[in-house]
């Protein structure tokens, strides 16, 4: 048996980011960029107005002794998307809207709020008067061409995570498609003759297949494209056929059939399918029977070595959930090109005593609050089939292998689960002021 840390090292060593693929801009949210992206334009493409106002020559506003109001004739009006046709002189101005190009001759924009417009016979666009006490400096309210982006400049580096702001920037520089690390495909295969489909009433000795739907949504939540293989029976040929189908994916997750029972066929079927065992059993509670192996399928059509990472998770729901978050989720993140792949950990204060025993680290379902320091409430957990304990958990409290009595008030490390939005976001020194 190896430790959790050794096991994680093994699985991450076997996981490399998937080869890049070109996708349309709309399919990039949440992906990692797989090329350097340069701008093909200056942004703004021209000196532009940052406000609605009047483009002027700042020297028309030089302070004199008496400081009379400045009055200018409006000779044109330009909105965003239009191009000014005339030039601003010392006695004239052009009205500009936010985003409009700055006309020739002008070197500042005065906001509409600081002006008073009036009709004037014989002046088609009227005149505008400015208060005595305003200060106008050259460059005011103008964003010079190329301030934000310069043509040819790399604006996003390969390896950047793509969120809405990156998508806006990619659009600004004209990228209709872009190279990204595609999400890995993960095949899910719960096994066991005792499993019946969700829509059926289980007969004697049977239970419903809860692992399948749970692991499928774990995979989706972790960002994978999930292939549902249905249920594998404890029957060599049917299992082998589903395993072969699953080996077309980047990751094959099998649940059940990996402990020491007579019908635990999974390791044998995997070996016969050419999957090489990397490890079997981890010093972990729950999750000891975890099996991990690799299937080398030769080169793919891009000439890259394609391999499938194969997990045999224990069949009990809590065990398979814990193993998924400890090992499978980091692998999915790594295949998708992420660099931080393990779940964040937070230290909290135990609300009750706990007795840890034995040579395996325990990951105990718990609830961590947002206090400072956070308080950790262990959730009553009646064995590794008890999904209700997980439903109430937002974290797994970690008790290292040892014989040790923890007291109320002791510190404990907690692995944070990808909590639903309404869960508490545990953090110290946070005040929700809004």
């Amino acid at each position: 048996m190896i430790s959790v840390e050794e096991a994680l090292q093994h699985v991450l060593d076997a996981a490399q980011p998937r080869p890049p693929a070109r996708v349309s801009l709309r399919e990039t949210l949440g992906r990692m960029l797989a090329e350097d992206v340069a701008s093909d334009v200056d942004s703004p493409p021209h000196d532009k107005s940052l406000v609605d106002g009047y483009a002027v020559r700042a020297d028309a506003f030089v302070r004199r002794g008496e400081r009379p109001p400045v009055e200018l004739a409006v000779i044109e009006q330009v909105t965003a998307g239009e191009v000014p046709t005339s030039e601003v002189g010392s006695g004239t101005t052009i009205r500009v809207m936010t985003g409009a190009p700055i006309p020739r001759g002008a070197d500042a924009v005065v906001m509409t709020e600081d002006s008073q417009w009036r009709e004037e016979p014989g002046v088609p666009l009227g005149t505008v008067q400015f208060a005595q006490d305003i200060e106008v400096t050259a460059g005011q309210n103008i964003m010079p061409r190329g301030t934000s982006l310069r043509r040819g400049q790399v604006v996003l580096d390969s390896g950047s995570p793509i969120g809405p702001a990156q998508i806006g920037l990619l659009a600004e520089v004209g990228r209709t498609d872009v190279a990204v690390v595609p999400p890995p495909e993960v095949a899910i295969l719960p096994t066991g003759d005792e499993l019946v489909d969700v829509g059926f009433v289980p007969g004697p000795g049977k239970i419903r297949n809860s692992n399948g739907p749970m692991l499928i949504s774990c995979g989706q939540q972790a960002g994978a494209v999930v292939r549902d293989l249905g249920v594998g029976r404890d029957e060599q040929e049917q299992l082998a056929s589903l395993v072969r189908e699953g080996l077309a994916a980047d990751v094959l997750v099998i649940a059940g059939g990996v402990s020491a029972g007579v019908r635990d066929l999974v390791p044998q079927v995997l070996t016969e399918a050419g999957v090489q065992q990397v490890f079997h059993k981890v010093r972990l509670k729950p999750g000891k029977p975890l099996w991990f192996g690799l299937h080398q399928a030769g080169e793919n059509d891009r000439g890259q070595a394609a391999s499938t990472l194969v997990f045999g998770l224990p069949g009990n729901p809590v065990s398979s959930f814990v193993c998924f978050h400890l090992f499978v989720a980091p692998v999915i993140a790594r295949l998708a090109g992420h660099t931080r792949v393990t779940a964040p950990r937070v230290s909290g204060t135990l609300c009750e005593a706990y007795q840890q025993r034995g040579d395996r680290v325990t990951y105990h379902p718990a609830w961590i609050d947002d206090g400072d320091p956070p308080q950790v409430q262990l959730i009553a957990w009646r064995g590794s089939a008890d999904l209700r304990a997980l439903v109430d958990a937002n974290t797994l409290a970690i008790f290292p292998a040892d014989n040790r009595s923890y007291s109320q008030g002791d510190q404990v490390q907690c692995l944070l689960l990808p909590t639903a939005r309404d869960s508490v976001w545990p953090r110290a020194a946070v005040r929700r002021t809004l």
Copy 2:
């Protein structure tokens, strides 16, 4: 002009969770449950073995003076999914796999690891011997029927967020479909004659439509179903037609056309479409021109009052991004049935001086790290069209309305953006030990 807090109160007052809808179990990830769910089964459905081992009578192991090894004849073998047909007596045992029902007569299971099996002529399944020093107590390694779930018991309350564990539990209790709050539909409508499509090279005075793709992905990230309306021109009839289409959604987000420019048609077109203005302009930087209104469309086919929340965001990308996260994202969360709807806030230490001026609160793009306390680096920000500042940001530092000089080392509140996975998760007292 109203404050950010008043504006948020207005938009949240207008947003009620959408009416529940029945969806298949596979479509529930991330939704809020809209009914109480009771179990239709006991779980486990029978007393079951928690290990691979031998079902025995504990009294066969009562310690005697000499403590000879206990030897039992194996009379049957039962895996998960099977039902035992015989009964365990004091000289016999039945081999049981993890999850198998406990046979009549047995009251404990001894793990395979603590036993030694051997063939025995005339005993078809052989005999098994147990070490002298093992302790066997009644109930050992057995999970009694109904420990985890009792038939009829409510196992998930209406209002629970649905994650993988909840999906597993819903499967266990036989729910192929379930009532949830469906995600709201959000229509996105960037406007402006200066906008050209991403695939084109902008001519003089034009820029590419970056707001559209950015706001579409903001909506997706916030959990909405997004309807892309294309680009609205500064032309009354075309704009009015797109607005009518958008009013079929739960939320209509228009970008551009809401400041005081001559062609800023949006408020007028909305009024004519029957949208009632709730507020226009907020004491916020960037984002002052924000417009918000309500369209009451009468009753829908379920007899409920259906209304559309209409946002007119400023056209500059940073302004519209800030307004989206301050006002639209909370509305989407509320419509989807969430109770915590605003972004979390964290206090951090400024890495540099900053001069705040004026009567509007500033939300400044920044990077917050995971130090204790977190350090906040302001990102050089060249006006509200500067998407590059957002690309480097994982937070918005909040400077309340005031004339105040902030010094390096001052504390500042930060609104956390929904960061990509590789962003730092800011928190105090966190150690990444894995």
